[in-house]
């Protein structure tokens, strides 16, 4: 068996599931730094200008010393404000550096391992599983569980709790019918969203408009028209059809009888959950996060690789744990796909492809049609304390004479 080959850790490709591990803190670091830099540039220009003006006016005796002091107070306040902002950015920077350090260290552990049989690999792989579990929990909004697991395993620097908590908050606010948080996020990420050609902001603006129309009073309709002029009309070129529909919505109110489905859809409360998923999609794309939880990716590939035709069959085999099924301690390990934890989940994935048989040596056929390797039959007979010349079926427990066995050439 080319087992050695299969156990080798392929370093070029072993970290596919771990790509966001370094990418995300790096992206966040860049973004955080850009924001900090922007703040410094903006505030320094304003301060230099104010300073210059005050000095000039003071020299020209256009400003009294009292006013100079007043301006100085304003400048000091401005600088204190900037310092506060920068402290927040600096804290975030420290946190991200710490994360990057921890993550590089975690990945470096793997680079010393060459085989999955390495005892250290199991610990590493368990840590990876914990990371994937936290990621799964965060993406589904099971935030308390995610934090509990991260705490328990002391792996805060290896998971992205903060990022997903922020995302969760915005998603929930959308699900509860509020666009403000999502719009603020759009504003913070304007450039990037434009690059991604995300429709999120446009859809949020439409929703604001729709909510004004929903109230269905004259004053709100006037407000809606003003809103549309300011926030929806600029998207005319990008989304001509939708903009036209928005205009037509003025004539189609939610209470109308026989509201055409096209317009009814805009008024539907489902819009909010759609907005929430549009937001999540944009958020993940922007930060380079995979579209679905990495646990899904790992599971669909893992379940298939492990699955065999026997796992969902009606026959009982030595590695399944179907109910009412006696397995012996000889079948040292229950197959994970047969185990009730995963059996149902694995039903819809294809089973693994094998081009070579994988069988025990010296196969023997029992009179009941079952085939086992000689070594296993011998060991089980010894463990069961059978008389000389007898064997016991590992699955059914039937006892046969050795003379009744036939050699199998498979």
């Amino acid at each position: 068996m080319a087992d050695h080959e299969a156990s080798k850790i392929n370093h070029d490709n072993h970290l596919l599931l771990d790509q966001p591990l370094l990418r995300l803190p790096y992206e966040l670091l860049r973004k955080n730094f850009r924001s900090a830099h922007f703040t410094v540039e903006k505030e320094s220009t304003t301060l230099n200008k104010l300073l210059k003006e005050t000095a000039k006016r003071s020299l020209d005796s256009k400003t009294s010393p009292e006013d100079v002091v007043k301006n100085l107070d304003a400048m000091i306040a401005k600088m204190r404000g900037m310092k506060r902002k920068l402290s927040t950015y600096a804290d975030e920077e420290t946190r991200l550096y710490k994360q990057l350090d921890a993550r590089v260290a975690h990945l470096r552990e793997l680079s010393d391992m060459h085989s999955v049989e390495d005892v250290k690999y199991e610990a590493w792989s368990r840590k990876r599983l914990d990371r994937l579990l936290v990621d799964y929990m965060l993406r589904h909004g099971y935030n308390t569980s995610a934090q509990a697991l991260a705490n328990e395993r002391q792996m805060h620097d290896l998971v992205d709790v903060e990022t997903f908590l922020t995302m969760s908050k915005i998603r929930e606010s959308l699900e509860n019918g509020s666009v403000a948080e999502a719009l603020a996020w759009c504003n913070d990420n304007k450039k990037e969203l434009r690059k991604l050609q995300s429709s999120l902001e446009f859809l949020l603006r439409c929703q604001q408009y729709i909510e004004l129309l929903r109230i269905n009073t004259i004053s709100k309709s006037v407000e809606a028209i003003a809103h549309a002029k300011k926030y929806i009309a600029p998207f005319q070129e990008q989304y001509p059809d939708e903009v036209r529909e928005m205009a037509a919505l003025l004539a189609h109110r939610p209470t109308d009888k026989d509201l055409p489905p096209k317009y009814a859809a805009w008024y539907s409360p489902d819009r909010w959950s759609k907005l929430a998923s549009t937001f999540v999609e944009a958020h993940n794309k922007l930060l380079g996060l995979p579209t679905f939880p990495l646990l899904h990716t790992a599971l669909s590939s893992g379940l298939s690789a492990l699955k065999t035709p026997a796992c969902h069959g009606t026959q009982k085999t030595t590695s399944s744990s179907q109910p009412g099924h006696s397995q012996t301690s000889m079948t040292s390990s229950v197959c994970p796909i047969c185990s009730i934890e995963l059996n149902e989940l694995a039903k819809n994935v294809p089973y693994a492809h094998h081009s070579k048989s994988h069988l025990d040596n010296d196969l023997l056929l029992l009179p009941n049609g079952r085939v086992y390797g000689q070594a296993k039959l011998d060991e089980y007979a010894a463990k069961a304390g059978l008389a000389e010349g007898q064997v016991k079926d590992l699955v059914t427990g039937e006892v046969y004479s050795r003379a009744a066995l036939k050699k199998v050439f498979a």
Partner: protein, 457 residues
């Protein structure tokens, strides 16, 4: 050093450099300086009694230092930007972004089942408090309904099992689906564990938690060299264990004997008549009768060792008395047996599946890229179209690939043994048939269709 290790080292170096580059905290220090300068100008003006000249002079003089401080800040920040860019390039070079399969998420609609798998994983890992938080947060009702639905489904499947003890009739038509469905009297006993588990689940998994917590208590005892709780558990489950052909109870009792035999200087137990060689003998007299003749040879060896007590390390029995790995060994047998009686595998299936997933993923991606390049579509079939080799210990079932058709046998296309002892897939055999006869593709033997028999590998 592997390429990976080199890359990681380079990355670490870049990160260290970034950590040393004056970043935002250095900027804050400089902003403090600016605040200081502004405050001192203000103080000068106030102290001068609001003198016009002082005001204009001091504020004019402070312009340049503040401007240059801002310039320094800008230089610092530009330096950081450059270093960050380098880190980014390093990431791109050594860890180029590779696309994950993203078109089709087979797990998308499986949230309840995944949640259940996670709950059970956390319980079996001993993460009881996280597990209960998770079960609560995912809405235990949904998760547990699901558990019950699955289990009921299996129950029904079970009920339709043929409980007939009669061995398989060899001449029966192969198409009869029920032919393999017979159950030995032992199976009823072994299924007890599973039935128990079904009920446990309906009790909001608290009892499953209790079971695992019992397992952890016992494992903890074994770790601290106390076998009594493990022996007690094995004794109360001796019928099920024996049906599985497990030696656990004897292994534990034998280790207890060995441990007592070693005496207080090794085992740290009280130095009295219950300890040492005499204590071991007493323990044997009180307990070994339970095993009858089953382990008579081993028990004789244990008794004979008494003679060599003074110089055990030179005796023929020294291997039995080496306890280096013995406690770890019984701990892993115990875990295996404990989980098996619950119908669960000893290792977490979720852990195995995710590890196997990481190993198989590169092949999956490679295959998807190849099919995309060819323009052929990804079709969901029963079998993966490419091989995903896993380490030996991750192969749990025997796999038979027909040497002629190169196909894996399934229930629809089972392995058939022909009279010469060779095995072929059923479809292969049918293709070889000339009338009712066929010739073995591997040896000169010929056979009749009716003499080929379906086997279970």
């Amino acid at each position: 050093m592997t390429a990976q290790a080199t890359a990681m080292e380079a990355l670490q170096k870049e990160l260290d450099r970034l950590n040393r580059t004056p970043g935002l905290s250095a900027t804050i220090d400089k902003v403090d300086k600016i605040i200081e300068m502004l405050t001192s100008v203000k103080d000068q003006i106030v102290q001068s009694g609001m003198d016009t000249h002082v005001a204009s002079m001091s504020i004019t003089r402070t312009q340049n230092p503040i401007k240059s401080t801002f310039e320094k800040i800008n230089d610092d920040l530009k330096g950081v930007t450059a270093t960050q860019r380098k880190l980014g390039k390093m990431l791109d070079k050594h860890f180029p972004l590779k696309d994950l399969p993203s078109e089709h998420d087979a797990m998308a609609d499986q949230e309840p089942l995944i949640n259940r798998a996670i709950s059970m994983h956390l319980l079996r890992e001993g993460q009881f408090s996280v597990a209960s938080t998770f079960i609560e947060e995912t809405g235990d009702a949904a998760t547990l309904d699901n558990v019950n639905a699955v289990i009921e489904g299996q129950d029904q499947a079970n009920a339709s099992d043929n409980y007939d003890d009669e061995p398989m009739d060899e001449d029966r038509d192969d198409d009869d689906d029920d032919e393999d469905e017979y159950m030995s009297p032992l199976e009823g006993v072994a299924s007890l564990g599973f039935r128990q588990l079904q009920n446990l689940s309906s009790l909001q998994s608290h009892e499953l938690e209790a079971k695992f917590s019992q397992m952890y208590t016992i494992l903890q005892d074994i770790k601290s060299r106390n076998l009594l709780s493990a022996i007690e558990w094995a004794r109360s489950n001796s019928v099920e264990l024996e049906a599985r052909g497990s030696n656990l109870e004897f292994e534990l009792s034998r280790l207890q004997y060995v441990w007592l035999f070693k005496g207080p200087s090794v085992n740290g137990l009280p130095d009295n008549e219950l300890n040492g060689t005499a204590g071991a003998l007493l323990y044997a007299q009180q307990n070994f009768w339970r095993f009858g003749n089953r382990y008579i040879g081993e028990i004789q060896q244990l008794a004979n060792a008494q003679i060599y007590a003074r110089n055990l390390s030179e005796s023929p029995y020294r291997h039995i008395f080496s306890t280096e790995t013995a406690f770890a060994d019984v701990a892993s047998s115990f875990t295996r047996e404990f989980c098996s009686l619950l119908g669960l595998s000893a290792e977490s299936p979720l852990y195995i599946a995710v590890t196997a997933g990481a190993l198989a993923l590169p092949l999956l991606i490679k295959y998807q890229q190849a099919t995309r390049a060819k323009g052929t579509e990804w079709t969901t079939t029963n079998e993966l179209a490419f091989e995903t080799p896993l380490p030996e210990r991750m192969l749990y079932h025997s796999i038979f690939v027909c040497p002629v058709s190169k196909e894996q046998t399934t229930e629809q296309n089972p392995p058939m043994m022909i009279p010469c002892g060779h095995v072929l897939a059923k479809e292969t055999l049918q293709r070889l048939l000339k009338g009712t006869r066929f010739k073995c593709p591997y040896c000169p033997a010929e056979g009749l269709e009716k003499d080929a028999r379906r086997i279970m590998i």
